[in-house]
């Protein structure tokens, strides 16, 4: 194999082993854009796995990036517990009313069975379909919402903060349920053909929960989940800052960490070098107004700071490109990575 013949899979595996591939791998984490690609509403688009498969393949060809991203929407994990999904024409589906309103709701909460949840089954069908079509040449990146962060949707953030501080027994019970679901859901994705699974845990960020409280509560939950996953994982804080937690994420055995645009990428690179790969950290919010020149400059800046020695995948910092980001901007990002991301 020579550098110029690397497949996306080879490129990504090389960088994850902290070596330099032929060029910087690019993950455009596109979900809703598939609907644009097929001229469908977001809701219609996600209703049929074949549509998502087709759009993922088309978008990878168009943007020349290095993964498939079969996730439909983050709130699907909440939907699995019986939660309502709110659909919009111009943004990601959101979680609706909380499903946990009282302590009794936690005490009676049951772990959903993956095979009984239509939205999860659709995602598994997308993963299987992409696996068949990719012939092991393209990484398929699955997603689970971290067991410690899922209660933000299940009960609302304010009530969850009160629970975190004041109700250790109820918290323990809720974490036991969520981690069982999280492990089952991640492993179902591995079984369907996911190459790796992103463990999305925004509440790990010290921006949201104090580090000492996270160490007592969320970290043991993450340790349980990741140690029971049957495949490799990446920890992603969905725009949350993570620098103080890098040692923790290394100890979890995560292959990579998704980092925030609000963090110093050079400091992150120094902290992660040779231990855990970085995924990031283009600002998805400002991305929607970038010109092609600005996109190129942003890409060059990130590559210059974090690409040397491998251990780096260029991506957005949130784990999902906003609906408002135009095709021209995505093409400009891709072109810049292909032009400026070569290692040799």
């Amino acid at each position: 194999m020579t550098a110029s013949t690397m497949t996306s899979m080879e490129r990504v595996l090389t960088t994850l082993s902290h070596k330099e591939p032929d060029r910087v791998p690019l993950f455009l984490l596109l979900t809703m854009h598939g609907a644009k690609e097929l001229g469908l509403s977001i809701r219609d688009y996600f209703s049929k796995p074949d549509q998502v498969i087709e759009a993922q393949i088309r978008m990878r060809t168009k943007y020349r990036h290095d993964c498939f991203y079969p996730i439909q929407y983050g709130a699907a994990d909440f939907e699995a517990f019986g939660g309502e999904i709110l659909w919009f024409e111009d943004g990601p589906p959101n979680s609706g009313e909380s499903i946990i309103k009282t302590a009794k709701d936690i005490l009676t909460l049951k772990v959903p069975k993956i095979q009984d949840i239509p939205s999860l089954q659709r995602t598994l069908a997308v993963i299987s379909g992409l696996k068949e079509r990719s012939a092991e040449a393209v990484p398929i990146v699955g997603v689970v919402i971290g067991a410690f962060s899922l209660p933000v949707m299940q009960m609302g953030f304010p009530a969850y903060i009160e629970l975190l501080y004041n109700e250790p027994d109820l918290l323990k019970r809720l974490m036991a349920i969520n981690q069982e679901f999280c492990v089952a859901w991640a492993n179902a994705q591995f079984q369907a053909g996911a190459t790796a699974v992103g463990y999305f845990e925004p509440l790990a960020s010290p921006d949201l929960v104090p580090a000492d409280l996270y160490h007592q509560t969320g970290l043991p939950v993450a340790q349980y989940c990741l140690s029971h996953f049957t495949g490799p994982s990446c920890v992603h804080l969905a725009s949350g800052r993570c620098l103080p937690l890098i040692d923790n994420f290394v100890s979890l055995g995560a292959a990579a960490v998704g980092v925030s645009a609000l963090e110093d990428l050079a400091m992150l690179k120094a902290a992660c070098k040779g231990r855990i790969s970085i995924i990031g950290n283009l600002n998805g919010i400002t991305m929607r107004t970038w010109t092609a020149t600005e996109a190129e400059e942003e890409v060059k800046k990130v590559i210059k700071t974090a690409a040397a020695g491998g251990g780096f995948i260029l991506s957005d910092n949130h784990g999902e490109i906003p609906w408002q980001v135009e095709e021209e901007t995505l093409l400009a990002i891709s072109e810049a990575v292909h032009q400026w991301g070569r290692y040799s």
Partner: protein
């Protein structure tokens, strides 16, 4: 003890979630200060200090939330519900724009109450619903808390509707999208932004002063 030293100690107690010590200190200060003085001497500077520490990555949002709620409870328990000088204030409103993420709004509401402001809490509404209520209630300053980019961009529609209704309302916005894009508040037509709850309260105060001119 001067205000800065006292509020720093008070902020430390709030961040440690030491309700009993915070309450003891608060009650002690009520013996020496009038309700309005106490808000300006202790509560507002403590919340400003906590907001600054959050901006600098020294505290977490969970602590900001709990601190704000403790202050709100103390003010509700120990200070009069309404002070005469607030009655003639221009009307203030706060809302979520088609967004279920309520944490930011709750923190700002707590900071407003703890700082002595009275306001209409509209909860969660769509842009047309909110525009109608703002006009009907003759709101002068409207705060909007967002988490989702989509909600932040809907402020444009709200602004258009309010302009069409010739509402002079000033809009103060805050939330994650505005932290990630410092120009976004201007793009959506807001009059001010706040990176944390106390900055939002300060922005409200500035808007109120402008309205008096």
């Amino acid at each position: 003890m001067n205000s800065e030293a006292a509020s720093r100690i008070f902020a430390d107690r709030l961040l440690a979630l030491d309700r009993l010590e915070a309450e003891r200190m608060f009650k002690q200060e009520t013996e020496q200060h009038s309700p309005v003085q106490l808000i300006e001497y202790l509560i507002v500077p403590a919340l400003e200090d906590i907001g600054r520490r959050w901006e600098q990555g020294e505290t977490a949002l969970a602590q900001v939330y709990m601190s704000s709620r403790i202050c709100e409870e103390l003010v509700a328990r120990f200070l009069p519900l309404s002070s005469p000088e607030k009655i003639n204030q221009p009307k203030l409103g706060i809302a979520l724009l088609d967004d279920y993420h309520a944490l930011g709004k709750i923190i700002v509401c707590a900071a407003l109450r703890a700082s002595g402001w009275e306001f209409h809490d509209y909860g969660r509404m769509t842009a047309p619903e909110l525009a109608e209520r703002v006009v009907q209630d003759q709101i002068s300053v409207l705060l909007i808390s967002t988490l989702m980019l989509r909600s932040a961009l809907q402020i444009k529609e709200l602004k258009t509707l309010l302009n069409a209704a010739q509402s002079p309302v000033k809009i103060v916005v805050g939330g994650a999208p505005f932290r990630f894009d410092p120009q976004l508040w201007q793009e959506v037509g807001a009059d001010a932004t706040g990176n944390n709850a106390t900055e939002a309260v300060q922005a409200v105060a500035r808007c109120m002063e402008e309205l008096k001119k």
